[in-house]
Symmetry: C2
Subunit: 148 residues, 2 copies
DNA sequence: TTGATATGGTTCGATGTCGTACTAATATGA
DNA sequence: TCATATTAGTACGACATCGAACCATATCAA
């Protein structure tokens, strides 16, 4: 493997790391004190993908350790944004449901984020983003597969 | 701004966040105990871009708060991988130089990482990566510009 | 020159992240 | 059936990250 090629992958991950960091900071600047990006992401997932998932399903959806998801869900529950009920199919497990307050918070957060997204969309057209997404998905899927 | 477009940017940052997380975990699994990705990244930067930078220059190069860079450099210095000398041009400041041990560590780390990179390169061809990079750089630059 | 302001760097404290170890419940297989 | 292995979730501890406050030096303006 020539250095040049290796450097390509290093640079890729470097750029991605920085973008992740900057975008996260941008998002969190619009969220109320005590709530961070994962809180929003989980609520978003519950609305857009499916409500009533188990903590573990959520953790794997975001490729996070389950212990991180426990922490995130505790925060959401403390704010009354999700409700956790025992899983009737498996007594070890729980199901996570978004509450009305959670839905409302998510909508407010999206509204608060909208100006930033609009500004960014002005600078980086959505066609460019759409062009990047397939390659990023491919990369994510392969990285995920490599873990096992 | 239609929901569909907004969702595109959300998904973009979600993918990027996950890739950053997975790639970081993959890298750190190959680094010795107590050393983490930023340690490697800084050494790499000193070799590939330029040695003898100030901590602040390094922080801005990685878009990190300077306080995080202080922490990273302290770890590198503790391991003897960098040497920090007073900046003759500015008595407030320091210059960071990589040591021989630091160079050696960097090379060993690259060697340790090589199999993973090779495996990934097998699954995600370098042309795909090269295709992604310009778009990612554009995104990073605009996000950076938006901060001020 | 000198007072005000800005900049480089660190310390400190708060918090997010995640690995380890544990408990409870379920699946497996002899 | 019953012992064993897996799985869902949590508690805890270690540590990376980062904002606020701080000190020393440098820059700027009057």
């Amino acid at each position: 493997m020539p250095d040049k090629i290796t450097g390509l992958y290093f640079e890729l991950f470097n750029e991605i790391g920085i973008i992740g960091q900057l975008s996260r900071a941008m998002f969190e600047a619009r969220l109320p004190e005590g709530l961070v990006l994962p809180h929003f992401s989980v609520l978003n997932h519950l609305v857009r993908v499916s409500d009533g998932r188990t903590p573990l399903e959520l953790a794997t959806a975001f490729q996070q350790p389950k212990t991180s998801m426990t922490h995130t869900l505790a925060g959401l529950e403390r704010h009354g944004f999700v409700r956790m009920v025992p899983n009737p199919k498996d007594k070890r497990s729980k199901l996570v449901f978004i509450t009305d307050a959670g839905c409302q918070f998510r909508e407010e957060a999206i509204a608060a984020l909208a100006p930033d997204v609009a500004k960014l969309a002005d600078l980086v057209p959505s066609e460019h983003v759409a062009g990047l997404l397939p390659g990023l998905r491919e990369l994510r899927e392969e990285l995920d597969r490599m873990r096992d």
